[in-house]
C-alpha cells in the first residue's frame, strides 16, 4: 500500500491536503498510528495521525525530522496550518505533511480499513452504485449525476462516435469507440481516463470517467462503478428503445391507413390522426427520406426530427419502410415563393442528414385535403426513388423540377411494363461490361459518346464498342427514335428496380 492510494479514499479526498513533501506520497505505507502529541517515535512506513493540534508549531519540525530518520510514511496534522518553515522542511526531507479539518480519528479508521481490506473500498463503491442506479430506470443524465456524486470525478455518457450525450468530459476524444471493451487510458498529466461500453442495443454507448492525478490510484474502484452503471444505462436504452418501437409501429400503421387510396378518411381515422397531432386539412407538401435497408430508422428518428427543427421546418416525420415519410402542412395554398423557401430549407436538412446518413430526399408538390396528402407523399416517394439515381442533383429532387422524368417514371411503374422491360434488356445482362447502365447513360446524354464516356469514366472508344455490342446483342438500331424511346424507358425501369 502507498500513501497516494489512501489519499484517494472518498473520506480523505478533498478533506486532506498534501501541504508539502509530495515526493514521499508514493513511499510504502504499512501502519497508521494515532498520536496525542509529537513525543512518540514513528515507525517505519508509518503514517502518524495527530488527533489534536500540537501545542507548539516547532514540534511539527522535530516530528518531521524523526519521521525522516525512521522512514515513516508521513504526518497528518489537524487544525491550523503549520508555518512555511515546516512546509519547507517536509519538502526537504520528503516526508509528506498532510493537513485536514476533518475528524482525524475518522480519517484514521478509514485508512486502517483500507490497509486491512483493500477490496472493501471497491466493494462499498459497487454496492453504493448498485443501490443508487440498480432499482429504478434512470436516464443517462441522472446516471451521470449519481456517478459524479459517488466517484467525485467528471463522468459522461458518450455515443458510438464519442460525442457527449450527458455530463462533461474533457478527454472524451481519447476513448477508442471502435473497440467496445472496457478501456483505461493513462493521461499525460498523471490522470486516468476510464470508459465502459454499454453494448446493447446497437449502436453502443459509452460510460466514461476522468480521474485526476489525486484520484488515479482509485481507478480500479471507479472502473467497477462504471461497469455497474453501464448496466443501468443499457437498461434505460433498451426500455427507451422498446417505447420508440411501439410508438413507431403505431405511427407507421396510422400513416399506412392515411395513404390508402380511399375517398375520405372515416371518423375513427381522423380521431387517430388528431391524437397523433397530425393535421389532415389544409395544403400538404410531402417529403420522403430514403435510406439504405441496413439503417436503423427507429433509432434515428430523433436525429431526423432534430435536423428538421434545426432548419425551422415544422414537419411530421414517420419511420416508413426504408426511410421516413413526412409532410409539411400549410393553412392556405402556399405561394411559389413559400414552396421555394421550404425546398431550400429541406435541402439544408438533407445536407445535414447526409453527414451521417446515406439519405435521398424527395419533395412533392402542394396538394390540399387528406387525399392530397396521399398524392403529395406519392410524388415525394417517386422523387426520392429518382433522386437515388441522380447523383448530379445531390440525391435531392423536388417534384416541381421533375417534369417529363416524373411522367416517364409513372409509366414505368405499371405492372405490365416492368417485366417487358426486363425481357427486352435481358440479353445485355450476360454480356461483359455494364451494358444496361451504358445504354441508359448514352441515351441520357443524347447519344453523345464523349459525354457518356465522361459520366462512366471510361474511354470513348470503349463506349463506342459497347454501343455497337448493344445494337448487336439486341438486334436493334439506335438511330431509330421509336426503338430509342422504348430502350430508354426500359433501361431506366431496370436500373431503378436494382437493389
Amino acid at each position: 500500500m502507498i500513501l497516494r492510494r489512501v489519499l484517494a479514499l472518498p473520506s480523505w479526498h478533498g478533506q486532506v491536503r498534501v501541504l508539502a513533501g509530495e515526493a514521499g506520497v508514493d513511499g510504502p505505507l504499512q501502519t497508521v498510528r494515532p498520536a496525542l502529541d509529537a513525543s512518540g517515535t514513528p515507525g517505519e512506513a508509518e503514517l502518524v495521525v495527530l488527533v489534536r493540534p500540537l501545542d507548539a508549531d516547532w514540534r511539527v519540525d522535530t516530528l518531521l525530522r524523526r519521521c525522516a530518520d525512521a522512514g515513516a510514511a508521513g504526518v497528518l496534522l489537524p487544525g491550523p496550518e503549520p508555518l512555511t518553515a515546516s512546509r519547507l522542511l517536509a519538502d526537504r526531507l520528503s516526508v509528506p505533511l498532510l493537513t485536514s479539518t476533518a475528524d482525524p480519528l475518522e480519517l484514521l479508521v478509514d485508512a486502517r480499513m483500507l490497509l486491512a481490506a483493500p477490496d472493501l473500498d471497491r466493494a462499498t463503491a459497487v454496492l453504493a452504485t448498485h443501490r443508487a442506479v440498480g432499482e429504478r430506470l434512470l436516464p443517462p443524465e441522472e446516471v451521470v449525476t449519481v456517478l459524479r456524486r459517488l466517484t467525485r470525478v467528471p463522468v459522461a455518457v458518450l455515443d458510438d462516435r464519442g460525442g457527449l450525450l450527458a455530463g462533461e468530459l474533457t478527454g472524451a476524444a481519447r476513448v477508442r469507440v471502435s473497440e467496445p471493451v472496457p478501456q483505461r487510458v493513462d493521461l499525460d498529466d498523471g490522470g486516468v481516463l476510464l470508459a465502459h461500453p454499454a453494448v446493447l442495443p446497437r449502436p453502443s454507448v459509452w460510460l466514461a470517467a476522468e480521474l485526476g492525478e489525486r484520484d488515479a490510484p482509485r481507478a480500479d474502484v471507479v472502473a467497477a462503478t462504471l461497469a455497474v452503471a453501464a448496466g443501468a444505462v443499457q437498461r434505460w436504452l433498451l426500455a427507451n428503445r422498446l417505447e420508440l418501437e411501439r410508438d413507431a409501429r403505431s405511427r407507421s400503421a396510422l400513416l399506412g391507413d392515411l395513404l390508402r387510396p380511399e375517398s375520405e378518411p372515416g371518423a375513427d381515422l381522423r380521431r387517430r390522426a388528431a391524437d397523433a397531432g397530425w393535421r389532415l386539412g389544409g395544403w400538404h407538401v410531402g417529403l420522403r427520406i430514403g435510406v439504405p435497408a441496413e439503417v436503423d430508422t427507429v433509432a434515428r428518428t430523433q436525429e431526423v426530427i432534430r435536423a428538421l427543427r434545426a432548419e425551422s421546418v415544422d414537419a411530421v416525420a414517420v419511420e416508413h419502410g426504408e426511410g421516413w415519410t413526412g409532410w409539411v402542412t400549410f393553412d392556405q395554398e402556399p405561394t411559389a415563393q413559400r414552396v421555394r423557401t421550404l425546398s431550400a430549407r429541406l435541402r439544408a436538412v438533407h445536407r445535414s442528414l447526409r453527414r451521417t446518413l446515406d439519405a435521398d430526399l424527395g419533395v412533392g408538390r402542394p396538394h390540399p385535403h387528406p387525399d392530397g396528402l396521399a398524392a403529395t407523399v406519392a410524388e415525394a416517394t417517386d422523387a426520392a426513388r429518382l433522386a437515388a439515381t441522380r447523383q448530379e442533383t445531390g440525391h435531392f429532387l423536388h417534384v416541381d423540377q421533375l417534369g417529363m422524368a416524373q411522367l416517364l417514371l409513372e409509366w414505368t411503374r405499371t405492372d405490365t411494363f416492368d417485366p417487358a422491360a426486363r425481357a427486352l434488356l435481358a440479353p445485355l445482362n450476360s454480356a461483359p461490361g455494364d451494358l444496361i447502365r451504358t445504354l441508359a447513360v448514352y441515351l441520357d446524354a443524347e447519344s453523345s459518346l464523349a459525354e457518356t464516356a465522361t459520366v462512366l469514366g471510361v474511354h470513348r472508344n470503349t463506349v463506342a464498342a459497347r454501343v455497337a455490342r448493344i445494337e448487336q446483342l439486341l438486334d436493334i438500331d439506335l438511330s431509330r427514335p421509336d426503338e430509342r424511346l422504348a430502350l430508354h424507358l426500359a433501361a431506366r425501369a431496370v436500373i431503378l428496380a436494382r437493389p
Binding site: 501545542d55 516547532w58 519540525d61 525522516a68 512555511t84 518553515a85 519547507l88
Partner: protein
C-alpha cells in the same frame, strides 16, 4: 580595569552578543557611556578580588520595556532613587555597584551609574547573558532570593518589593511596569563582595570586552571558521531569513506571556533549514528539525555583513544573517541551576542542548 573611549565599541558589541537577541538595544546606553568618558570621567571596573570581602555591592539595572528606554529617556536620577530606596529599606549603604544583566543595554549601564553615584563598579552580574525575568537572576538560582527590590520609574514613583517569592517579585515588578512608564531602574539588596563568587556570574564585563574585541577584529563578512574562532563558539547557519512568525505567547501563572515567534533561514552551505524559536531572546535552534542548540547557550543572530547582533524584535524576512552559538556560562550549566534557564523555563517543552 579602566574603560576608555576606544573600549566602548568592543564592549557594546560584546554585551549585544551576550544578549542572545534580547537585553535591549545598546545604542542609548552606549551613548551614555561615551558621553561620560568624553567628560573625562572614565569608569573603572574592579574584579571582585580587588575588593574587600565585606564591600557591599548593590546590583542595579533597568527592567521593563527596553524599547521604551530609548524613547523615554531617564529623567535624571532614577537609579540614585532606587539605590537610596533599597539602602533605606535594608538599612545599609552600598559601596559598589554591579549590573543585573551583562547581556544587552544593562551591561553598559552599571559603569555609568557607578561613576555617576561615585561608587565602585564590580566585574560581575546576575545573569551572565540576556535573561528576561527577575526570577531568573543568579540570586534566585542560588536561593539567596531577589527580594527586597526597589524600583524607580521616570515618572517619580518608587516601589519596594520587600518580601515574597522570586516569582511574586517578578509578577509585582511586571504589574508596576505595566501601570507606569514601561521601564524602571531597579536596585537589589546589597551583597557582600565575598559572597559574589557564589551568587553571581563573575568577570563578565571583562569577558564581554574581550569577546567584543575579537568580534570586531574579525572584520566584515568573515568566513565561517574565522567567525567561529573569533567568537569561541559555533556557526549554526549562514543564510537568508525565509520566514519570521510572531504570535502572543501562552500565559504563565495568570500573567500575559511575552510575545513568541520563530525565525527560519536556509543555510547557503547545504540548504539545511535552521529554525530559531524566540521569546525575548533566541532560545532554541533546530537544524532540519533536530534541536542543535538551546538556552542557556547564547544564540545570536548577526547581520552577515556588519556582524552586528540582530535583536529578536528587529529580525526581518530577507535578511542575510549568521546564526552563532556561544557557550553557556558555567554558572548555568550546573545541574542545580540549569532548570532556571533551560527551554522549559520558557515554556518550550524541549530538553536543553548544551554542547561540551
Amino acid at each position: 580595569m579602566r574603560i576608555t573611549a576606544a573600549d566602548v565599541p568592543a564592549l557594546e558589541r560584546g554585551v549585544a552578543l551576550l544578549g542572545s537577541g534580547g537585553g535591549g538595544d545598546t545604542v542609548t546606553s552606549a551613548g551614555l557611556l561615551r558621553r561620560l568618558i568624553e567628560s573625562g570621567r572614565e569608569p573603572v571596573v574592579h574584579a571582585i578580588t580587588e575588593l574587600a570581602a565585606d564591600t557591599l555591592v548593590v546590583p542595579v539595572g533597568l527592567v521593563g520595556a527596553t524599547a521604551a528606554f530609548t524613547e523615554k529617556l531617564p529623567g535624571g536620577d532614577e537609579f540614585g532613587t532606587a539605590i537610596a530606596a533599597i539602602e533605606r529599606w535594608t538599612g545599609v549603604r552600598g559601596q559598589a555597584l554591579m549590573s543585573i544583566e551583562i547581556g544587552g543595554l544593562n551591561g553598559l549601564l552599571a559603569p555609568v551609574i557607578a561613576r555617576q553615584q561615585g561608587l565602585a563598579c564590580v566585574d560581575a552580574d546576575l545573569s551572565g547573558r540576556g535573561l528576561p525575568r527577575l526570577d531568573q537572576f543568579s540570586v534566585a538560582a542560588t536561593g539567596r532570593g531577589v527580594a527586597p527590590a526597589a524600583l524607580a520609574e521616570p515618572g517619580g514613583q518608587v516601589v519596594v518589593l520587600a518580601a515574597g517569592s522570586d516569582a511574586l517579585v517578578e509578577r509585582g515588578a511586571r504589574a508596576f511596569l505595566a501601570s507606569s512608564g514601561g521601564w524602571a531602574a531597579i536596585a537589589l539588596a546589597p551583597i557582600p563582595a565575598g559572597e559574589l563568587a557564589g551568587h553571581a556570574v563573575t568577570g563578565t564585563v571583562r569577558a564581554a570586552l574581550e569577546l567584543g574585541t575579537r568580534a570586531l577584529a574579525v572584520g566584515e563578512s568573515p568566513d565561517r571558521p574565522a567567525l567561529a574562532e573569533a567568537l569561541g563558539g559555533r556557526v549554526l547557519a549562514r543564510g537568508r531569513v525565509l520566514e519570521v512568525s510572531r504570535h502572543v505567547g501562552s500565559s504563565r501563572r495568570g500573567s500575559p506571556g511575552f510575545g513568541r515567534g520563530s525565525v527560519t533561514l536556509a543555510d547557503h552551505q547545504d540548504g539545511a533549514l535552521l529554525r530559531l524559536e524566540m521569546e525575548n531572546e533566541y532560545l532554541l535552534a533546530l537544524r532540519d528539525g533536530e534541536p542543535v542548540a538551546s538556552t542557556p547557550e547564547v544564540l545570536s543572530v548577526l547581520d552577515h555583513r556588519t556582524g552586528a547582533p540582530v535583536l529578536c524584535d528587529a529580525i526581518r524576512v530577507g535578511a542575510e544573517v549568521d546564526v552563532v552559538c556561544l557557550a553557556a556560562a558555567p554558572f548555568w550549566t550546573d545541574p542545580r541551576r540549569l532548570p532556571m534557564v533551560r527551554p522549559r523555563a520558557y515554556g518550550i517543552d524541549c530538553d536543553p542542548v548544551v554542547s561540551q
